[in-house]
Every structure is written in structure tokens, then in C-alpha cells.
Amino acid sequence: MKVILRNPRREIVIDGRRRVHALLAELELAREGHLVIRNGTLVPGDAELDRDDVIEIRPVISGGA
């Protein structure tokens, strides 16, 4: 699957299927700090992501004071 990461924007390719929480753990990304979006729609932690899915992992923490 194609995974789009942000800040800065970049893409990686992951082989095979994954559940959302497994993908986050593999990339060492905190659940509370990210949303996972598949083909434009939010997906929960137990969703199974397929080989041809396009996934965006969007960070949600902003730093301004």
C-alpha cells in the first residue's frame, strides 16, 4: 500500500495487508497524535488496510503557543 506521511510530505510503500494500529506501531507513530485516512475517509484502529489502498497518516499535534 502507498502511505502518505506529512510534515514534511513524503510517501512510502508498505508490502502486504496491515491493521491500522499495527501500521502505526510499525512506523512508531503514536495513536493519540495521528489520524489514518483511507481513500479520503477516516478509519478506526482495527480496520484492515489492503495492498492497493492509498493511506494518509495525518499528524494532529500543533505546536503554536
Binding site: 477516516l42 478506526p44 495525518r58 499535534i61 505546536g63
Partner: protein
Amino acid sequence: MKCRTCREPAIIDLPRHNANFCAEHFLQLCRRQVAKAIHDHEMFTASDRILVAVSGGKDSLAVWDLLVDLGYRADGLYIALGIGEYSDESRGYAERFAAERGLVLNVVSLREEYGYDVPTAAKATGRVPCSACGMSKRHLFDKAALDGGYDVVVTGHNLDDEAAVLFGNALRWDVEYLARQLPVLPARHGFPRKVKPLIRLTEREMAAWCVVRGIDYIIEECPMAAGNRHLGYKEALNSLEEKSPGTKASYYLGFLDRMAPLLADLAATGADSVRPCARCGAATGVADEHAVDGEIVCAFCRLVERSAAHAPVSVDLVRKKSRAERRATMEVEAR
């Protein structure tokens, strides 16, 4: 995963509620949390005119959307801070949001109207960028609210923001800041009321609100924010939250419930006398006032004077300098 309310497929899991929600019932939860914050803290009523501080980021666009959705009368104010591409892009998001919904967005440009921008102000005054920026924003929101006849200024501070600030204040035991860290800052002479309707919702929930509602917002960070202390506090709290969901809410909302009342006397003593600035007329607290040739001049007017006289400074220059400064401070603190 199924929605707790309707058993349809869920789009989001919220461990702190020990539940999952479909899009419709997630939005319902957000609306209820905002309505509860507005009601519990008596933030405003349907007849109040509201000015939302809009940055083009998820929180400010979400709070504006939520207020309009709940039937309130809310206009926006965007301040063009002159932070390179980041500012140009974020302004675009704010303007498109307003235009698509037929909402009123006022825009104030630091460069066009006051002759400076945030990077230049940071350099000219020796402040860190967020301090120069925060002071400019506070002054201009106060001014816009008073000039425009608004009853209240709304900001998009969410639960994560407030918990992180609380954490920082508690680490330093800064009791005066603790006493004033409330979701409602009452109006006092020359200052409008300021409120934070998102205190019961997390950053992740606000980003999700935007995704579900189809709101495009600036995802990139302000280049000045990188590596600041506030971010470190948020990450620390989030790692506690992952192990023990609900920690952030019980920390901050518990503070409001049980600790803030004990500090109420202290909060009241902060409401000292104010005098008008000789240049702009803005109410100026004793702590902020400063005599220039025997006149009271507010901190904002002094910042404008120094910054507008300084040659424009690029974002990168300020960033590099502040990074070097941070390293230097860390080295000093480590000793």
C-alpha cells in the same frame, strides 16, 4: 468496530470514551461537548456577537464551523503574520472556508497596516518569535473586538493545548498563571471577554471533525513552532494518555473543577488597574506599561515602533537563530 450509538461501522475509536463512533454520532459527540463547555462556563448566548480568532489551522476552523452549526452568530478575524509561505497558505485556507460558507472573515495584515511581520519583530525586539507573535495577536484581537462591537472573542484552544499549558505551569508552580488558566477570561475595562469552547475536545478529535466535515486546513506546522517546549509537553501527556486513556481530560477538567476554585482569590488580584496607551488608546495593564518621554506607551506600540524601523528579516534567519539559541539554553540548563 461498531458505533456505540447505532451499531453501524465506526470511523473512529476514542479510547478515552472507551467507544467507537460512526461519522454522524462522532459529530454529535463533538457538538454536545462544545455545547456543554459553552453552557457550563457561561461563555456566550445566542444573542452575542462572536469574533473567532482564525489561523487557517484545524482548531480555529473547527470551532468556527461548530459555532455556526450550533446556531451562533460568529465572524472570523485572520491576522496575516508575514511568516513566509506558511502565512500565505494558511490565509488561503481561512478565506476559502469563509467564502464557501458565506461567512464574514476580517483580515488584518501586520506588514500592510503596521509595517512589520513576525520574523522581523522577533529580530528587532530580541523576543522569541512566538512571544512577538502572541503579543501582536492579543492586541489586534482585542482591538478588532472592541472596534467591531463584538461581545466575545473565541479561540480554538483544545484540551491538548490547555493540558500542556497546565502541565508547564505546574512544573514551574507558576501560581499566578495557574490561577488564570480558565476557559473564560471575563471582559474588563478595555479588554473583551475571551473564551475557549474546545476545552472538552482533543486535537485528534478536532482534526477528525475537519476530515468528516470536509474542511481543508493547513496541516503544515508554523515554521516558528518547531521543537518548542509546548510540543514536548503534549508528547509527554500523549504517552500517558496511550497507557491510560482519559488522563488529559481528568487532568485539565479536574483542575477546573477542583483546583481552580481554590485559586480564585489569586485570579481576582490579577485584575489590576489599567491606563490608556498614549499612542493607540488601548488599555494597558500596570505590568505592561512603560513610560516613553513621560507617557504611558503599551507593549504593542513599542514593538511596532522598533519592528517597523527594522529592515525585513526572512523566516529562515529567525529560525536558525532561535534554534541556535535553544541549543545554547539547553546547554546552560544542563550545567
